[in-house]
Symmetry: C2
Subunit: 632 residues, 2 copies
């Protein structure tokens, strides 16, 4: 299907919006009138610009407060429309969106509205223009698409139909199945927006919080399926009013937008969705994106930490304290491989592309996930517009495919056992063993439980859609955690079996003095016995994060735990949580540089969380500890 975006979704001047939409691969745009009015190009110049960019202008919008008015106002409204048809002729666009009236002058009179819409359609036909009448969720009399269709159906004009906007329909909880009763050629246009399920004034909700399909709580595939079943063959067009998108980089937003439509078409192209569309015959006549099927990652192959030379000693202390051993070095790069059980950590002395990198810093620079078919995973990532990272590799070295995650972390797909599919080499072959160190007791850690990544302010929805679509991970519920210096939003995206878990954090508000912990990254390692691990790491002199005594007093009061357990937790600085599914024990190391730390966790039973109730305590302790460290 053609893919289109309303210019109001994107930041910038009209010319910048058009360039961004074309750049990422949209087929067309809806021109939002305010963007044209503020623009210095004539409508004809915009038409030429769109032609140059290969963009079709699908729709001109919005035309407001037309129908159901007294005769003198109708005359004025028709004159207003005539002027807009002149503009549309110059622009070369042939559908006008007419919103249901919110005017105090309008009357609740369907016959009057129908008659006047008929007159508008007659005037429009002289310009070759079609009218798409849309029921606004807050329309004064018409706020249900079935009502809008009833009025339109009563007017026998082929160039008069309805516009179906998913937000206006689904925000009011209307059943979209009624769309099937509208002839496809009278569905003049369809506008798509998702939205989080908020309980708030619908106008404010619409104007500030819409998001792209798959980023909110609406069933967009079901919605579009009904329209396809009815015979709609126009574009999938996004109309999203969102404060963040207004301020964000237009090309980044456009990429996120187009990705959302590709995912939506993929959902539509599945058998289940085809059934929802009514018949396979319908599906066959609609061309839908079918990116390579998602392959769930089976685990973490490695996590690569970039360390400034000044932080190398600290990294050594922490990794040894955790029970890791340095086992190999890269053949051509300043990279060390540390290992414990099947956990592999790369320490890379090269400076990553982090903006405010300073001496002594460390950061997660790359993550590799195990894919049963890395080449296939790479093709899917590409189809979903994940930015590929060009790699340099020496002769005989593994060529791993990597994409940039929204926070710029490189994410690799690989198979540690056999190398990338179709290749003879494994990434492990790029490393040469180093001389064995003194014999040590084996460590107590068994796996990477999760990786915590901080996201740039305001790109949380984009990140969630990215991990969901590119990696086939499942977004969990969003949590809000009060850091001493601001609210932090946190959301996990996980594989079905929990073998791969990312915990994404972001400051709830951008700007100002951001809560630093929202910008921390961490690697959490799983172990079968938290106290055994704590004892072992104490012996290894791991610097751990102290936890205040007040926490344990409160824990004892809240949880009714037995005193011996509380004293053990207190002794080892272990945090504790439980829910109806199980228990969670966790403690953290001191910081490595300004932005990362390690965590040691034990899951008991089917606990699926991350100790959210404890995180304010951990965050406060991290500030305190960092402040004390500065005194050393």
């Amino acid at each position: 299907m053609r893919k289109s975006i309303a210019t109001v979704c994107l930041s910038g001047t009209l010319e910048e919006k058009l360039a961004a939409a074309a750049q990422v691969g949209f087929d067309g745009v809806e021109i939002f009138e305010n963007d044209l009015v503020a623009c210095d190009s004539t409508p004809r110049q915009i038409r030429e610009r769109c032609a140059d960019l290969g963009l079709r202008i699908e729709l001109y919008q919005p035309f407001r407060d037309f129908e159901g008015v007294p005769a003198d106002l109708l005359t004025a409204n028709l004159e207003r429309a005539r002027r807009k048809f002149d503009v549309m002729t110059e622009l070369g666009v042939d559908i006008l969106l007419v919103c249901s009236s919110v005017s105090p002058h309008a009357r609740a009179d369907d016959a009057l509205a129908a008659d006047q819409l008929g007159q508008l359609a007659d005037l429009a036909s002289g310009y070759g223009v079609r009218i798409a009448y849309e029921a606004l969720a807050w329309g004064r009399f018409v706020h249900d698409y079935t009502h809008a269709w009833k009025i339109v159906a009563g007017v026998d004009r082929p160039n008069l139909g309805v516009c179906l906007d998913s937000f206006h329909i689904l925000s009011r909880g209307l059943d979209p199945a009624g769309i099937r009763d509208i002839p496809g050629d009278r569905i003049m246009f369809m506008q798509l927006a998702d939205a989080p399920q908020l309980q708030m004034d619908v106008l404010q909700w619409s104007r500030h919080y819409r998001c792209f399909p798959g980023q909110g709580g609406f069933d967009l595939a079901g919605f579009v399926g009904h329209a396809l079943a009815a015979g709609y063959r126009g574009p999938l067009s996004l109309e999203v009013f969102n404060d963040i998108f207004r301020q964000a980089d237009a090309e980044r937003t456009a990429t996120d937008a187009l990705r959302s439509l590709i995912v939506l078409e993929e959902e539509l192209s599945t058998v289940d969705a085809a059934a929802a569309q009514g018949s396979a015959a319908v599906r066959e006549r609609v061309e839908l994106s079918r990116p390579p099927t998602p392959v769930e990652p089976a685990g973490f192959a490695f996590v690569e930490i970039a360390v400034d030379p000044l932080a190398e000693e600290a990294a050594d202390i922490l990794l040894r304290g955790l029970g890791f051993t340095r086992v190999a070095r890269h053949r051509s790069k300043p990279v060390q491989l540390w290992q414990q059980a099947d956990i592999r950590i790369l320490l890379n002395r090269a400076r990553p592309g982090v903006e405010d990198w300073t001496r002594g810093d460390a950061a997660i620079a790359a993550i590799a996930v195990e894919s049963p078919d890395p080449a296939h995973s790479g093709l899917r990532a590409e189809a979903l517009l994940a930015p590929a990272i060009p790699r340099r590799y020496g002769p005989g070295e593994a060529d791993l495919f990597a994409v940039a995650a929204p926070d710029s972390t490189a994410v690799f797909f690989c198979r540690t056992d056999t190398g990338a599919a179709g290749e003879a080499v494994s990434w492990l072959d790029d490393f040469l063993p180093v001389a064995a160190e003194d014999a040590q007791l084996p460590g107590t850690l068994t796996r990477v439980d999760h990786v915590g990544l901080s996201q740039p302010s305001y790109y949380f929805d984009e990140a969630t859609l990215f991990y969901r679509s590119v990696f086939g991970l499942h977004p969990q519920s969003s949590e809000e955690i009060p850091d001493p210096y601001g609210l932090v939003r946190s959301r996990a995206v996980t594989s079905t079996d929990g073998a791969v878990r990312f915990v994404l954090t972001v400051p709830a508000l951008g700007g100002g003095r951001l809560p630093e912990t929202a910008q921390f990254q961490h690697i959490a390692f799983g172990c079968p016995d938290i106290f055994a691990a704590a004892v072992d790491m104490r012996v290894r002199r791991l610097p751990i994060l102290p936890v205040p005594g007040n926490y344990y007093d409160d824990l004892a009061a809240r949880m009714g735990l037995d005193d011996a357990l509380v004293e053990n937790l207190r002794r080892f600085g272990v945090l504790y949580d439980r829910d109806e599914r199980g228990e969670y024990f966790h403690f953290s190391t001191a910081m490595l540089g300004r932005r990362m730390f390690f965590e040691i966790v034990q899951r008991v039973g089917d606990y699926e969380g991350y100790g959210t109730p404890n995180l304010p305590v951990r965050m406060a302790a991290q500030y305190r500890h960092a402040a004390l460290a500065g005194l050393v």
Copy 2:
């Protein structure tokens, strides 16, 4: 009355919160349990810290999900309470806030709840603790303060009473007059929060959007008046959950908070409020802040622009183009006085305290308002915690009192005719006339219509309260204006007669690439005839901001104006707006530096706005013009 603040209102560690509250002059605090739990000091250390700071710990909070539960859970809950009473004893605080239950284990049984609250009170009495039971707006069974009081009244325990929280009561639209039916000694505590009138889920509203009294839509003076009439003599204590305050500087927030309570007490101390309190006798027994009465400013005395030396020529061109003449220079500072009619502009070559000041910049550094009694205005500003700006002045020069507005602009109080009250000198005496320039036609401008000031992100409510309380100005409705690169929030604060108008702007979202126009400042000059002014200024070669033709095509379609008027508007780049009260004509100059411009406006009839519908067009034109200017 004692003034208190809950630690949850402020950003930082518990120690930082306490320091900020004490620093600005609060008498006490509510300790929010989460702050204590995350803190490394023992309760006894916190008690000592508060004593050192002169802060009384008024309340410990919250204790949740206590009442109406099965017997086994009651035992556990009493044990939980006992542990908290231990903590409270260490802290030296004697009131515990108990929130109405949201537990799934609770039963809808008032008698059971009463019995269990009675047991809690009995346990508490052994510790000298009083219980303040609060109906949460989202309490499972108890969500109305009259219901909470009914339960409490049924238990004959002097140490059991209610906590009245203005948010929980007013957000549900409950009538606060029922407070008068509660004996004053059973109102154990009162928590104050205002909130904007939002239609949204009450829990989200409460947790993220509360604000200080006078910053939202609730009648806090009326609310407190009822409690005073009932005999409440505890502190006025703020409990405000707000995402912004969590992230902001704690001392700044604490100042804003304390100012809000001073204003609230001032409202309570007026005759009307005393009537609401039931009797003058009540008022006399309560000590209320009475800052010097507000004096509305009568106009603008001057606006001072700081110009970088590189911008002086541009400033000359713009001021001359507007019809101003340089008439004097300061006796001791590099400041020129430009005048037209009674409008006075100071050009100051000194660099202001602007963070990112660069070559060629210009900014509004100071504003002087005419006060009938500048000394009185200064005392009021001081009483309302406006930060005074230390001034240097030479022998015989006027000593003007200035305060720093929230955006750091200096605001002076002065009387241009006679000098500051009680002083012999007028600020004008500090200036020496310069040689008369060539005779010119008089200009067309007659007054400063308004001054546009950009506010720091997230401090909009603070700014509004500042201008309202310190200057006695009236906040107008808040508008949202789409700039090409983000949403801009705009709100005017005006004197009753419109002689002084400030238009405050702020980016709707902080962080990211902020819309630059939200950070623009401007001075708007009024004139009696916009076209006469436009012709005059064209002759004077004033560089004006071009307006795109599409704007006029749309204006003609929207407004049904006659063609000759539209052509005149188009010819002179004049923007047009009208409402039911009158009309507004306005055009802008080119930018002076990167952040300021001038506007020329004509008001017809009783139009009270600022051309909001035109501002997106102006903003887009400003980016375009600045980009073109860069090419010259």
